[in-house]
Symmetry: D2
Subunit: 341 residues, 4 copies
């Protein structure tokens, strides 16, 4: 299981869709960051189901409890444990699917991997897992705010009439999240393997249902010429500017100070009410119709998850960048006791 | 610097475009793999410039020397050091660009990051760096071959008339690499963060010039319905099959036993002979024309680099999968001395 | 903060002495291991205070709850979250020490590091933190049991009359834990840096109050000659044996199949009732006497913590050893779906 | 194989005793550090054999070549590859030992682990491997020098008459290295697992032949009382001082600003000329006498290796400490291009 993410600001998550709780431990949050349970509310609400006509009707208040790592409303440097109790779990909803390999789901691959199957709502392969990501992301965003960095994602507009027709038919739709990162200094990213684009790609592609990622003009660059695609530079009033941003804010894997732009494609949710043919674990071919509380489209709720993952990557990379030069190291290396007079 | 990749099969690379050598250390290659210098020749030749009308005319024999880790033509379990001496470096070719921020290059971002600039051919931000990846990838592929896994990538066909016209004009073209992985068992990949798709995305997006990655139907899934996109299962003659492969061989981040398919977009190479406006480090706006030995398109030479990175990811993930179940652990845990009678 | 331990079997811990809970997430436990809350009881009881005349009188039932990672009493491969609620926290006990740097404590160094101080019982620098280690260690031990490996530690005998006199005087005593690992195959350990001895040393020295570690004859080897100290080999009845075990079961950083023996020294607990001179955060020199519920000696309760840390190291190293040879890799690599017929 | 050490300042080493070269890649050295081949000479000479009457007569000039990572005598942030060619390898010296398990050596355990044996001088399990550590340590020490931190180790005095008698008899002696670290700020170390003491213990115990490590009073603390052992604090002239240093400069795993003191025990070298009984790989019990060029005692040449390992740990921990507080992060986070006017 690869449920730990990051190197300096590390997030370990746990929890299944229909277990008793989900949550995470954040190891590496600097001391001195104001943090209390209110800081999670807005993002948790954006992720929560039940807030959109196109989302699952599962009702989860998704209140984050802080079990450790703060004292007097401020982080202490100790690991921050966050827990969200599952209040509306209904594992029995899934009993009839316990031995079926649902089309497009992880049922088959999890069984192949672990030789055991937790059929309760997909277990770990459930969108519910992203609640822990969003909670951790809220802490990462607070750090970024202190550094003047903003992460914002939205679902690309889609045809809502089509979407409603599709839902009415018991079907689901694919979608795209568009993200923008503003205010990041130039110089963030670690070539040659841990390029900022590469690490953002990993983080974003780890979100359930993601099928593709691109930066800047992305796949369209494949049909462009260099003369048209190259981002040049220009001095004006003693400041240097980029004259275009086709690269989407990352050059040679390192941020260039410009806005970072990405698009993240999502497949249509695989749980649909329409009848589907598939196989079960007993050697039979069966027809199933997946009832219950499922999203018709991923992007609207996944925006905040994408923001969270991007924010965690950015904090990690900003922290790594503090040792880029001897000059920075000397500046940040703290000598002596702060309270010493 | 993020120049170490992998966790169980780890590759540390070094070397600048116009330094004395490039190479890598592989830590974690199992003992008992036949390996000698011939094993690198074919892939190094595919990557080498000078073999295509559309590639740099730089001549590098790119002979890999093995400095450690084998004995009698077989790996011993010790780290494998591979070195490739740069025979045709011409750092002086770059003297006139020493203080210019070339459009689309890493000149600006490397300078922002490190406050120092190795202008000799882009230093670490050069395609030459990929020779070390290909050398390491050749070892990874040998392991995969023993396990029945194949990685193959090719450049998507393009209009060669257009490309020749573009080169004649001193310009460059974007391109796409298409990759396929065959023979991989179901069950490889580590949710929730280290999904196989996520780690492949990172590895492939870390190749210089990559602008986007997608798996299976990829971005097209954003315009599909679930009923059309879901991959179902079917039993036939006592065996289970997938009835489609829209997901591209990875479901919920874990391989499903089917062919893994990805597309990787590359921007046009940024070094072009056409005049371009840009800025230098002295506060001036200048016009430059980049002479020298440069590729007109990335994909043809990048195929083998993509194969290498995918192969390294696969070896890492296969190794991680060996502890998926207690049953596997018991089977592989070796008791006693092999030579004990 | 370095609160994550291990690479393949990873443990992330959280929790302060007088916060609401402590616990951990285990990422990388294989699927198929029987595990329920009873499996923690014996070890938690050994660690718990209140069971010895020489230990703190703090009463903690230390019941472990499993929040995730099992289904039907068996691990699923998903991360295992374990939580222990602090029932007898009394943060107010420490209010009078809030600004004092207690002798021998982490008060000063934590303040120097984080510029903030969680004075409630030492926060993260408290023996209470080890409860999470013991919980994680219980899972590691279950894995080892399946592989025939046993870890056992005990406090070296001390003079109990002396100890009682020392306690009566409001003082504390140093101590030594002796550990033995039996049944481990030869071949475990990863030179040159991750030697089994080196990783055990790190794990054991990370326990609060540890001041030294040695393997086999340890420091006494410094006064020995090679002819006396070398462990030789001998064949008998077609089996190979070591003729001595001065090295303590590890040669060149790799287990040799013999019993692994270590000794771990602990300083006397720093919290003592005897008056001590020290400084506070306000620039004053003060005299303090530390009341409350404290241990007079560390080793008796630390035995089970040492076992836990050793067990976690062993599981990690056994898992890493599964890729020592191509032969092992091929044997453990699982092809196809287990349920496929 | 565990041949990569560190997290932010990472060192990957390679090379066998009698292969063509040994060396390392350093990934994570900040840009802007002056570095050329002269910087390695003094430490390499201290490690080199042939400089002491008690050391191997093997002659190795041990000249370090820099293959990458510097430009104009200054580090660029790119990985630094260092290589030392083996000039005096004589693998044939070992042919008669090719199938013998030498007492006290890694012959047996390496064979058990890898099912293959590189008998040429012990392959990777040779003191020669430490040359790469010393080379990497020289870079770490240069960084420490810039930060005012000094690492110094020496062999504890021994009875040289005894030692000469022992050598004359074809035997070897155990020894102890004593190390001191000066000038390190308070606040370095990452509880609860990556305590400074724990990470130093791992690093130092990974040196071949190490059998035990202790900090401050070490094992003697086991026989002390708290009232005697606790290090208190005192204000004088507006500055805070420790009133003793029994802990050896590390409290609760974090440096306290005082001198860090450790002792590292080494066994007697296992290669001795005296006849020894042991087993070979063919089922025979044999008597051997190990001729050739071997050290009679480890500590004198291991001092500089201990310094190197300690220095690498310190650089890693200092780098990690730069994100201890939000205040530090803000100070070190570099906005904008340095050359921007």
């Amino acid at each position: 299981m690869g449920s730990i993410f990051g190197d300096l600001f590390r997030v370990a998550t746990f929890g299944e869709s229909h277990g008793s709780a989900i949550g995470c431990i954040i190891d590496g949050c600097p001391a001195g960051l104001a943090l209390d349970v209110q800081d999670f509310a807005a993002d948790m609400a954006r992720r929560a189901p039940g807030n959109s006509p196109y989302a699952s009707k599962r009702k989860e208040p998704d209140e984050v409890e802080i079990l450790s790592g703060t004292f007097g409303g401020v982080t202490t440097g100790a690991p921050i444990a966050l827990v969200i109790y599952n209040r509306d779990q209904r594992p029995e909803d899934y009993d009839n699917l316990a031995r079926v390999f649902r089309p497009g789901h992880g049922d088959y691959t999890y069984t192949a991997k672990y030789s055991i199957r937790d059929h309760r709502g997909g277990g770990r392969a459930s969108g519910r897992e992203t609640a822990a990501r969003v909670a951790a992301g809220a802490v990462a965003k607070k750090i970024l705010t202190e550094l003047g960095v903003t992460v914002a994602a939205r679902a690309l507009p889609m045809d809502y009439a089509d979407l409603e027709e599709c839902m009415a038919a018991g079907d689901s739709m694919g979608s795209v999240v568009e993200g923008k990162i503003s205010g990041l200094a130039a110089g963030i990213g670690e070539p040659v393997f841990d390029k900022l684009s590469a690490d953002l790609a990993k983080a974003l592609m780890s979100i359930g249902g993601a099928t593709g990622i691109e930066f800047g003009v992305g796949f369209a660059a494949a049909n462009r010429r260099g003369s048209e695609n190259n981002d040049g530079f220009s001095w004006k009033d003693g400041k240097i500017y980029k004259t275009s941003n086709n690269a989407g804010g990352i050059m040679a894997g390192i941020s260039d100070g410009d806005k970072i732009c990405f698009k993240l494609a999502f497949k249509p949710p695989s749980s649909i009410a329409l009848p589907q043919s598939t196989a079960n674990m007993d050697g039979d071919n069966v027809e199933i119709s997946i009832k219950g509380r499922h999203d018709a489209v991923i992007a609207p709720r996944a925006c905040v998850v994408a923001e969270a993952m991007a924010a965690i990557v950015l904090v990690n990379h900003i922290f790594r960048s503090l040792t880029d030069t001897m000059h920075q190291v000397k500046k940040a290396y703290k000598k002596g006791l702060p309270h010493q007079r």
